[in-house]
């Protein structure tokens, strides 16, 4: 975020007056004004390269066509982005690009996202005049743990080379040979092996570098995308989740097909690490989609309609008997700020529950750029809300707990099944909120399926203390519901401060309420 906006000047693009920041390039100014100037080699993350020649524009007073990606705007500059001359030049460049391009869009995974395809649609639609033999090159070169390079499709924009030079500084790829024989390649025996390799497939404007993880799985135009935040570390990278909404008559083997980075200069720029990119199986595998009742109490069949009533009644009975010390909570920090806030309010402020533990995944390894060692997305948020993050103490849990509310599947990773079973057996009533079908589930009386971060609304606080809101990108499977909904219903049910809860119909409202209570969240609301 730039504190002071640069001075604005007026330029003309296709005779339309457009405001542009002083010192910006023609391309950026046009993009700002909603005019798309085609480009392949230019990527906002890197300085202009000027090699693809697609962004040529006509500028009054310049004898030749100029590059939009590198020409800096001047006051009263008159630019034509669509004049006949410009279109002719772009067509010419496009023809050259396509001449040595294998045109194997049918097998290319990029088809649908491919810029070359888009530009052909926009400027080309000509018959190929190229009657010569195309240059033969490597078609299927594995260049990294999940990357496949097709040199024939490459348009030598060198985005990948520049990415590896400037962002990861590993320089795994280089341009070899020259002229028409130029090709991007790895050094023999070496491979693109860094934690950001997946970004290459994303920044490649054509299908030269494709992702093996996505290879031939589906076609990109079937996919829909939803914006979300990556929960696999505490960086909170902004991501796009691409999922298949399904065919009406045939079953599709997967739901989520790939993760893409979403631009956010304050957090993750244009990138997302390979862990976040390829670790999306948690969204689909072993998901719980039904309420499970292992010990049915009475003849009541529990549904989402009466669950808060049931829980409320149990808690009310304990609290009216002044036995709230018998309540225990096991939380985790995959919960959103709003959910943690509600939990804090209900159990700590109102019920004065003491036994609140956190069960999270163990720390991982950071890579010094985006990936943090913290593997849960919202530990910072829990701290800011006022939780004292205590690890689970099974002995404390086993002594005198009547009612246990546990969240998440992480508990099982921390203790041996035997210890867990022994400790949980001492607890009279125990309820688990989990998104997964897991062996842990059998230890609880009731297991309630809940949504994951990608499927709910809320906000997370990343390691730098930045609060980022998110909207649901996917539909939660089956009966799953987001935790905040259950918790605000429960809050209402308990009747301690029911007016407070009834005015919180959405996570957005909860966040505003949080801002009033906790100064940390106040400034984030604006």
């Amino acid at each position: 975020m730039q504190e002071k906006a640069n001075e604005m000047i007026k330029i003309f693009i296709d005779k339309e007056p457009v405001e542009a920041e002083q010192g910006t390039t023609v391309l950026k100014a046009a993009e700002r004004a909603g005019i798309h100037i085609p480009h392949l080699c230019y990527h906002p993350a890197f300085p202009p390269e000027g090699s693809c020649r697609m962004c040529l524009v006509e500028i009054e007073g310049f004898p030749k066509l100029e590059l939009a990606c590198s020409t800096v705007v001047k006051d009263e500059m008159k630019i034509s982005a669509k004049s006949e001359r410009v279109v002719k030049a772009r067509k010419a460049v496009l023809e050259f690009l396509l001449a040595e391009h294998p045109l194997d869009c049918p097998i290319c995974d990029k088809a649908g996202d491919c810029k070359l395809q888009d530009y052909y649609d926009e400027y080309g639609l000509f018959e190929s005049q190229f009657k010569e033999a195309k240059e033969k090159r490597e078609k299927k070169l594995k260049i990294g743990k999940s990357l496949i390079l097709d040199q024939e499709r490459c348009v030598l924009c060198t985005r990948c080379v520049r990415f590896l030079k400037e962002v990861t500084t590993t320089q795994d790829l280089g341009v070899f040979h020259r002229g028409v024989h130029s090709s991007v390649n790895i050094y023999e025996g070496a491979a693109v092996e860094n934690n950001y390799s997946g970004n290459l497939a994303e920044i490649c404007p054509v299908g030269a570098i494709t992702d093996e993880d996505f290879r031939f799985k589906t076609r990109s135009w079937f996919l829909k995308e939803g914006e979300s935040i990556c929960p696999l570390c505490s960086r909170g990278c902004n991501i796009l989740i691409e999922y298949h909404p399904g065919f009406p008559r045939f079953e599709v083997p997967k739901r989520v097909y790939r993760i893409k980075a979403r631009e956010n200069p304050e957090v993750n720029d244009f990138w997302v690490c390979d862990r976040g990119r390829y670790g999306y199986s948690y969204l689909d595998e072993h998901r719980a989609d039904k309420i499970i009742m292992n010990k049915i109490e009475g003849e009541n069949v529990l549904t989402w309609e009466n669950i808060s009533e049931y829980l409320g009644e149990k808690i009310k009975r304990l609290s009216s008997a002044k036995k709230t010390s018998g309540i225990a909570l096991i939380l985790h920090t995959w919960l959103s700020n709003e959910e943690l806030f509600l939990l804090h309010k209900i159990f700590k402020d109102d019920l004065k529950v003491e036994k609140i533990f956190f069960a999270d995944l163990p720390q991982g390894e950071a890579d010094g750029y985006l990936l943090t060692s913290e593997t849960s997305p919202n530990r910072r948020g829990a701290q800011e809300i006022g939780f004292d993050i205590k690890p689970v103490d099974l002995d404390a849990l086993a002594s005198g707990t009547d009612f246990l509310l546990a969240f998440g599947p992480f508990l099982s990773g921390l203790f041996s099944p035997k210890d867990l079973k022994a400790a949980l057996n001492t607890v009279k009533r125990k309820v688990l909120f989990s998104s997964y079908t897991h062996e842990l589930n059998s230890l609880f009386d009731i297991v309630l399926p809940v949504a994951l971060i990608a499927e709910k609304e809320g906000s997370l606080t990343n390691v730098e203390g930045k609060v980022q809101g998110f909207q649901p990108a996917l539909e939660p499977p089956g009966e799953s519901l987001p935790e905040w909904k259950v918790l605000s219903d429960l809050g209402k049910e308990l009747g301690i401060d029911s007016k407070f809860y009834s005015e919180l119909p959405s996570p957005e409202a909860i966040l505003i309420e949080m801002g009033k209570k906790i100064p940390f969240f106040k400034k984030k609301n604006d």
């Binding site: 320089q171 795994d172 280089g174 070899f176 020259r178 790895i186 050094y187 023999e188 070496a190």
Partner: protein, 157 residues
């Protein structure tokens, strides 16, 4: 067994590297020396140069493949480069190359089995006034004709 420069060359390289504000800039001179010393710049030599200049081998490969004078394959003792550009071809460079092909029994770009001669056709050598011209290990020979070439090649043997 990775190759290593001789002590003398090492000193020379140090001296060359010192000329430039950045080590990397010395790559062309160093590669020239490498090619002279090892006959070619294969992967091993690339790694060696990269180590000396503090860069990645891939950067060296980029340079080696870009410039035509740097060869990744080992060349013969005598590298015959025949100009095939305009001035020379006007004056019969084509016939001259054909003659060499016949005489040496190799196509342009190949090396004789005895590793003595490598024949290449190259773009303008900058000696157009003496067309058709050729270069044998940086010695210019101009106004070539079959008779002259016979003399020169025989002199080399």
């Amino acid at each position: 067994m990775s190759p290593e420069f001789s002590e003398k060359t090492k000193k020379k390289i140090e001296e060359i590297v010192a000329r430039y504000p950045q080590k990397e800039a010395a790559i062309l001179p160093v590669l020239h020396i490498t090619q002279q010393e090892f006959g070619s710049i294969s992967a091993e030599e690339e790694k060696l140069v990269a180590r000396i200049l503090g860069i990645k081998p891939i950067s060296v490969r980029e340079i080696v493949t870009f410039y035509t004078m740097l060869s990744r394959e080992s060349l013969g003792k005598y590298h015959i480069q025949v100009c095939s550009n305009l001035s020379c071809s006007l004056l019969g460079a084509g016939n001259f190359v054909d003659y060499l092909v016949e005489k040496l029994g190799i196509e342009p770009g190949e090396t004789t089995p005895d590793k003595k001669f490598t024949l290449s056709t190259v773009e303008c050598l900058g000696a157009c006034e003496r067309a058709p011209c050729m270069l044998i290990n940086f010695n210019y020979y101009g106004e070539m004709d079959p008779k002259k070439v016979d003399e020169i090649l025989d002199g080399l043997k």
